[in-house]
């Protein structure tokens, strides 16, 4: 297939996934902020959401202070922010339009209808409830898109590139969401293991739809290392780094097979990252520092994306 087509499919899937991930990040910020308020301890939840979503620099180039309204606006609908939900949907549709011929009708209408309604669903001036409803809607639309492409695309290289886009973006997002916990400060009179701490871990699990999953897997109260294990190392958890990398490695393999066995640095590197997750232990990760581990992983995912481009999408 045309490299440009593969590139557009890859980025289309990434941006659809990113719109969902951004919705999840804003929802988690929202929950944390309202819990902190209800416990009488408002803190820097919105600032930490900005850091975790990788939008801190852009935001402070424009605003002085991370108020709830400003952060939400920047992450949800600011056109100056290439990762805002509106920008993601617009970029996704632009990519989709550029490769109309590679899309199934269902994929196109999932994207196109999202694009047609997103400005109204996430209009400025929504109250908290309407905004939450809008963010939930974005999640649904992204899931509709992945359902549409999984259910209708031929299982060929076009599909493999689309899958790669989804899982690369999702791995990045899970790492970032877990990292929110590093950046959000506990109030001075609140210790680790206190009510605030507990609620923050709960919000993180919720944001990746893993709260019920946690209880099924561990049947235990929320413990930071278990939450981290679930989101990093557990194969049952569909958004865990391990699950994402399992898929990434698989689809890179399928591409190599489809193209007569040709492999590149991206195959080696993805295999290495996957092996670290497959055989890693949570106590080792905590010992070396969770934040450091996550930072390295986010960087690793970024390099992997570049390697994939170098091999296929030039």
């Amino acid at each position: 297939m045309l490299s440009r087509t593969a590139d557009s499919l890859f980025w289309l899937a990434r941006y659809m996934e990113r719109s969902e991930d951004m919705a999840r990040a804003v929802l988690v910020g929202h929950w944390m902020a309202s819990m902190a308020r209800s416990l009488g301890n408002p803190g820097n939840e919105w600032h930490s959401t900005l850091i975790a979503s990788g939008c801190e620099e852009g935001f402070f180039a424009k605003y002085e202070e991370a108020t709830a309204a400003a952060v939400v606006d920047y992450l949800v609908r600011d056109h100056d922010n290439p990762s805002s939900i509106l920008s993601c949907i617009e970029t996704a549709r632009r990519n989709a339009r550029a490769v109309r011929t590679a899309l199934t009708v269902e994929m196109w209408s999932a994207i196109n209808e999202t694009w047609m309604r997103v400005h109204e669903r996430l209009a400025p001036g929504l109250d908290g409830e309407q905004l939450s409803a809008g963010l939930e809607w974005i999640k649904e639309r992204s899931q509709l898109f992945s359902g549409a492409y999984n259910g209708t695309m031929l299982r060929n290289d076009a599909y493999f590139f689309t899958r790669l886009g989804t899982f690369l973006e999702r791995a990045d997002n899970t790492a970032r969401i877990l990292d929110v916990k590093y950046h959000v400060l506990l109030p001075q009179d609140e210790g680790v293991g206190g009510a605030m701490d507990y609620y923050q871990w709960q919000a993180i699990l919720r944001s990746v739809s893993a709260l019920r999953g946690y209880h099924w897997v561990y049947q235990d109260r929320l413990k930071p290392w278990l939450v981290a294990e679930l989101l990093i190392l557990r194969p049952e958890m569909p958004r865990s780094l391990l699950s994402c990398y399992e898929q990434i490695a698989e689809y890179l393999d399928l591409l190599a097979q489809a193209y007569g066995g040709k492999r590149g640095e991206c195959h080696r590197f993805a295999g290495e990252l996957y092996a670290r997750l497959r055989y890693g232990r949570i106590q080792d990760i905590f010992q070396a520092g969770l934040h450091e581990f996550l930072t390295e992983f986010i960087e690793g995912t970024k390099s992997l994306g570049r390697e994939i481009s170098d091999l296929y999408l030039y």
């Binding site: 045309l2 490299s3 109309r100 011929t101 196109n112 007569g260």
Partner: protein, 480 residues
């Protein structure tokens, strides 16, 4: 030419496509019953469904104008325009004849120029024409085919009176609407369609693909690789480009996807470089190769023209067809038919005043209120004056432009374009229509029965261009 004007139908009531002297024509009986049996509200609902359908598919058309919806829908009218088998067979003969002559003319222009030498047309009109490409001199494209895809604009003024308005020989668009309109009709009004024996159009993409394969370079030994070259997603006809590529099952490429090495064209794929044999390019000559034509083109492929001239790739349409597409050349098409084919033209030409000729200019200036004045090289209905509809001040302003640059303009009498019943806000009313059939030239000439019917939705308007607020209708050619 001037004396012919008296013989032109005009002024009187325009020809009505549905009504004859004896009432509703046979071919429209089914439509008549359907219109009588369907309450206006039900028709209105169908129209809304149609709009929703088109928006969901994403058939949009960008209009070069500030503001408004950047991806506008072309309004679709659900009352079809019908031609019977006899009318179509007449048109088909006329269209094939015309396109054969145009291709022969293009070959001649870039080889011996016998038509010019025989006095058929002034050499300056050809050699100084913006569409003329000296790079094509002595080069013969495969099958000697130049205008592989031609969109011939026809209007009707009477039961047996069809005029050709324009021969679009560069990159005519609109065929996706012909296909999607039929698709929409079959979905929205399946019963009505089933009551008629409508000649299918859905084989157009196959015919196009076969035509393109039939003009593959002589040195292409395997099944030719055909691609469609688009300027990109911001082009007004991008939807059509992607639609056609999809329907033909070929790659939709942009200039940057192509690469020329040793005069061979390749596309960049995830598996490396892949050779290309035929390029259906939906891009003007000016932009295809910055090394040969406009150096500032960002959408072209450097070296493409050399690969073409080396016979390693075929471009469709050929480079340099613009010279046959020009409004200043149009008046000579009947003479071309006589000269190259030795036949009498089947389809009529509209008498045309070439403002470059002084006596013609004087006549045009004196009769502005009766004439349509167009830019010789314009398209899309931009920059034209419809004399009878224009205010005196507008005409005066236009007269100044004419005097300043007469060579840029041609003028034609206002034709009484036929009308077809159309669903408008006030109900069903006659609106002016034209017809653009698409003629394919490869090893042979093929035409799918029908074309794109454009309709001027504004009462009394004669401008059907989609860029000027025109709409479209499904065009039915009945088999019996």
């Amino acid at each position: 030419m001037r004396e012919e004007i008296a013989g032109l139908p005009g002024g009187a009531e325009p020809y009505h496509e549905m009504l004859g002297p004896g009432g509703v024509l046979a071919k429209y009986q089914g439509i008549q019953r359907w219109l009588e049996d369907t309450p206006a509200a039900a028709l209105a609902t169908k129209m809304q469904e149609a709009e929703l359908l088109f928006r969901r598919i994403g058939i949009t058309f960008a209009v070069y104008k500030e503001g408004g919806d950047p991806e506008r829908l072309i309004p679709f009218d659900i009352i079809p325009r019908i031609l019977d088998a006899a009318e179509w067979s007449y048109l088909e003969r006329g269209l094939k004849q015309r396109v054969r002559a145009i291709n022969a003319f293009l070959h001649d222009v870039y080889h011996e120029r016998e038509f010019i030498r025989a006095g058929g047309v002034d050499a300056r009109l050809i050699l100084h024409n913006e569409g003329f490409r000296p790079e094509m001199q002595d080069f013969t494209p495969p099958q000697s085919a130049y205008a592989h895809i031609a969109g011939i604009d026809l209007v009707r003024t009477g039961p047996e009176e069809f005029y050709v308005l324009e021969d679009n020989c560069r990159t005519p668009s609109g065929v996706s609407y012909m296909l999607e309109n039929r698709e929409a009709m079959m979905r929205l009004l399946p019963d009505l369609c089933a009551q008629h024996r409508i000649a299918p159009v859905s084989n157009y993409p196959e015919e196009l693909r076969e035509t393109l394969k039939s003009v593959a370079p002589a040195n292409c030994e395997s099944d030719p690789v055909v691609v469609l070259l688009t300027p990109g997603a911001f082009n007004s006809a991008y939807y059509e480009h992607s639609f056609l590529a999809d329907e033909m099952g070929i790659e939709l490429v942009e200039g940057a996807d192509l690469l020329v090495e040793d005069n061979i064209v390749y596309m960049r794929t995830t598996e490396g470089l892949h050779r290309v044999d035929v390029i259906y390019r939906r891009m003007d000559d000016d932009y295809i190769d910055p090394l040969t034509f406009r150096p500032d083109s960002l959408v072209g492929t450097p070296g493409l023209m050399n690969a073409y001239r080396a016979g390693n790739v075929t471009l469709a349409n050929a480079v340099g067809t613009g010279v046959a597409d020009d409004k200043a050349i149009y008046p000579y098409v009947p003479a071309m038919i006589r000269f190259f084919l030795g036949e009498e033209p089947i389809l009529k030409n509209v008498p045309t005043y070439t403002c470059a000729h002084e006596p013609d200019l004087a006549f045009v200036l004196d009769h502005l209120e009766e004439l349509v004045v167009k830019e010789a090289r314009g398209s899309g209905g931009y920059g034209m004056l419809v004399g009878p509809a224009a205010a005196a001040a507008e005409r005066a302003a236009f007269a100044e432009k004419l005097k300043a640059r007469p060579a840029d303009y041609i003028a034609q009498p206002t034709l009484a374009l036929s009308t077809s019943p159309t669903f408008v806000e006030a109900g069903i009313a006659p609106r002016h229509v034209d017809l653009r059939p698409f003629v394919l030239t490869g090893r042979e000439i093929r035409i799918v029965p029908g074309g794109l019917t454009r309709v001027a939705l504004t009462r009394g308007s004669l401008v059907v261009n989609s860029s000027q607020g025109g709409g479209t209708k499904d065009t039915w050619v009945l088999e019996t």
